[in-house]
Symmetry: D2
Subunit: 265 residues, 4 copies
């Protein structure tokens, strides 16, 4: 393909209106700039640091909202699953099933996702060496489903901190297309006491770095007002800056892509 | 309590005979030395590095074997669960439900385990700062279940390597009793290509270190012949060395325990 | 300045001829592409993993060669110092004094370098948080010397492995101009038994990533035949690929530089 | 030998009186408990985070104080060197020359220390894999000096944090006797802005862990009032607790030592 994919939306399905506000804006920008757009929102924040945090408006209502959003926007959808029994219901609504990073070694979940026939997007665990992601890909492919991609979102560098090892991008592209998750890569796990913090200020730098290194797509969470987003606010890109952000990303991606074949001997 | 707990058995329920051979030997040693013994075996290796690896003899057959082993040995049982729907069935057989390290932030699984009324043993994720485990404990306790303990099994130190930060033991004991997982702490994730390697030679050192630091119990996988164990062989303690190993552990634990109140001002 | 700086040469002063072969080629390419060129070679490899490794042809002879190379090429010179008493002699020959990464906290060395009046280039220690490099800069500035820059060359990610945390580049640029050390960033410390290994294949990716993130210059070791270079061969850029490498770097740097003011609010 | 060695004193040579107060107290306790005692104090804090920090009362005065302290106490002395030209002067006063962790790969310093004929104590760099310390030992031994030991003081676990990997102790004991540095292992590099913080509360735990793992000696900085110590206060053991601390250490060391031959097959 000659366009990068953009997976983007709010973190959680907060409401239909918020989803549409975000989806319409992002769709317009991706059309202007030449990205393939997939709308993203989670129906359940199943692994929040503490149980007092917002988890979502419920699976049924979320899937309903997602379906309406997909139909109105006319774009494909991605959402994540947490247990294998959720896959069949979710697969009726979305086009891409995302495997959360903590769950990237759960064989049953990978197999269920593969068997759904939908595209499968696996996030690299914060504890997994890049080359070991080939086994996650193989698990999905063992179901006959070849439509799988990987996502980079940082590796544990000590406590409460993630580092993006840019070497992981070419390493994982040997196995499958690779998406760079801009906003989770600047998360600080548990960095705010009972919830995760974030370093939004580094998002433009890491996004450019990954784009220049070479990837197949990007994942960006956005919100009209990150300070009131119900999850992951500290690391989100404000919706009104998405246009400029994507412009920068596209130009850098094109340059990175043009050096795809450059190798040292 | 004045005795440490020992969780021990093969990694997976390979067969009734292997379980009994191991259980009888370990029970005898724990009685001789003064440990509370809980027999451990997994009914499913749900997160093997690659899908070609042995996963188990099936949940139903494994639980049946576990139940017979528990009855014949007259000891409590522990096994791990991977998805929340497994909890109720498993809870009919075992006394302690173990939450795998990768899953220590899966809220539904923690809540289901808590609601079962059984004791809940949570392994610290290889990506979780020790102090953040308090939120996992709180999730279980929010169900009204106070019977929860934590387990240390190493933190990601770069790729394919784990380090045991002994500071995690006193840190986590502020929240709940802490078990030191001797054999997984010397695992090397993905260190043998498509499967995890291990450094059995370091097990006695780390076990002594943790015992002297101060813990409430230990977790040790053992096998009559680790070289043919169907999983985790490279890091297991050979069954015929368990007696000497536990002797060493008990003596060191007693010493560590006697300094429990020692603090610098 | 509107041009990036390139520090480049062989790792060690192997001989006058090798230095000239490299310097002439690199100078030509930097003139063609618009880099400010500083010739680099070490007079002493003072911290090789093992004492059997090549250390150099001696300080006096090396400085003599460097001086001739500088004169013939008409370019400024950089070399590193290891103890404070070396600074005054070295400062008579070179224009930039480099502080090795392991030594970035040695106050005497930083002060001596500062007092020489020459430009001072400090490599970030593999053990130093990016923000802590401000104190190294302050030590040099306390001598009244404002001509100081920092260099990124990777942080310890477990044993025998370095990771480049691209966040360090904007963090350190708050304190001083920042140079990205392409070839040491792909080193694997002690990764080949008694000597350091390298992953040359990742150099183009990390170089593009850093250039897009935004830096003030680059550091690249090169050799006509890295396989026979007397040190650091496994991570060097082959001399005959320097033209293409620098072209790629310049284009990416220009793009990264054009987004220098882009910030998320 | 059947006694562990204790290297202990203030961090820096603050004054003759402080040195004597500390040395007399520690000597008395080591005699009571059965340690070989070596008095430690630095003549120069050469790598403080920032240049505003206390560096010492000067090399000449410090060495003079050290010499008097050694004579009055009748115990051997250790101090660290930072550049090779310091070695000969220092070697006239002390019995053990300590190589700082950051400098453990500086070949000239290791050779100069070896050539002095004094015992050489090398601290493992916060960036050095344990097995790579064999090359540092070999550098000293290449001078014909066999009297060398290694010291563990923590490895970089992300930014501003060190972890003690207890596996390093048996790994490094293959090459030379190993000393566990209790107080620097609980340092937090740069963790207090322009100076290093510390977690004194963890010192008893790590000390017991290392003693049970098995080592040949300990290094402990102490002060009558750590809150006014001129360096490293936050991680020091208060002098009036040294007695109890050493008692605990000795008992644990004896136990650890008794399992020296225990190996898993």
């Amino acid at each position: 393909k000659n366009k990068p994919v953009l997976f983007s939306g709010p973190c959680a399905v907060e409401s239909f209106d918020i989803c549409m506000e975000i989806g319409e804006k992002v769709k317009k920008e991706t059309q202007r700039l030449g990205f393939d757009y997939v709308f993203k929102a989670s129906f359940d924040k199943a692994n929040r640091t503490s149980s007092g945090s917002f988890r979502g408006i419920g699976m049924d209502m979320s899937l309903e909202v997602l379906q309406r959003v997909g139909k109105e926007l006319g774009v494909p959808l991605v959402t994540d699953v947490h247990e294998s029994h959720q896959v069949s219901e979710v697969a009726q609504v979305v086009d891409v099933i995302q495997i959360p990073a903590f769950l990237c070694r759960q064989t049953d979940l990978l197999l269920a996702a593969g068997q759904s026939g939908k595209a499968v997007k696996i996030k690299r665990g914060q504890f997994m060496a890049p080359e070991d992601m080939q086994y996650a890909v193989q698990k999905v492919r063992s179901t006959g489903n070849e439509n799988v991609c990987l996502t980079e979102r940082g590796y544990s560098l000590g406590y409460h901190n993630l580092v993006v090892d840019m070497r992981s991008l070419p390493t994982m592209r040997q196995f499958a297309p690779v998406v760079f998750d801009v906003t989770h890569s600047v998360q600080q796990p548990g960095g705010q006491g009972g919830s995760s913090g974030g370093q939004r200020q580094f998002a433009p730098y890491l996004a450019r770095a990954a784009a220049a290194t070479g990837v197949d797509g990007f994942f960006i969470e956005t919100h009209p007002d990150p300070s009131i987003a119900l999850s992951d606010g500290p690391n989100m890109v404000p919706l009104n800056q998405m246009g400029g952000f994507l412009e920068m990303l596209k130009a850098t991606w094109e340059l990175g892509n043009s050096y795809k074949e450059f190798q040292l001997k």
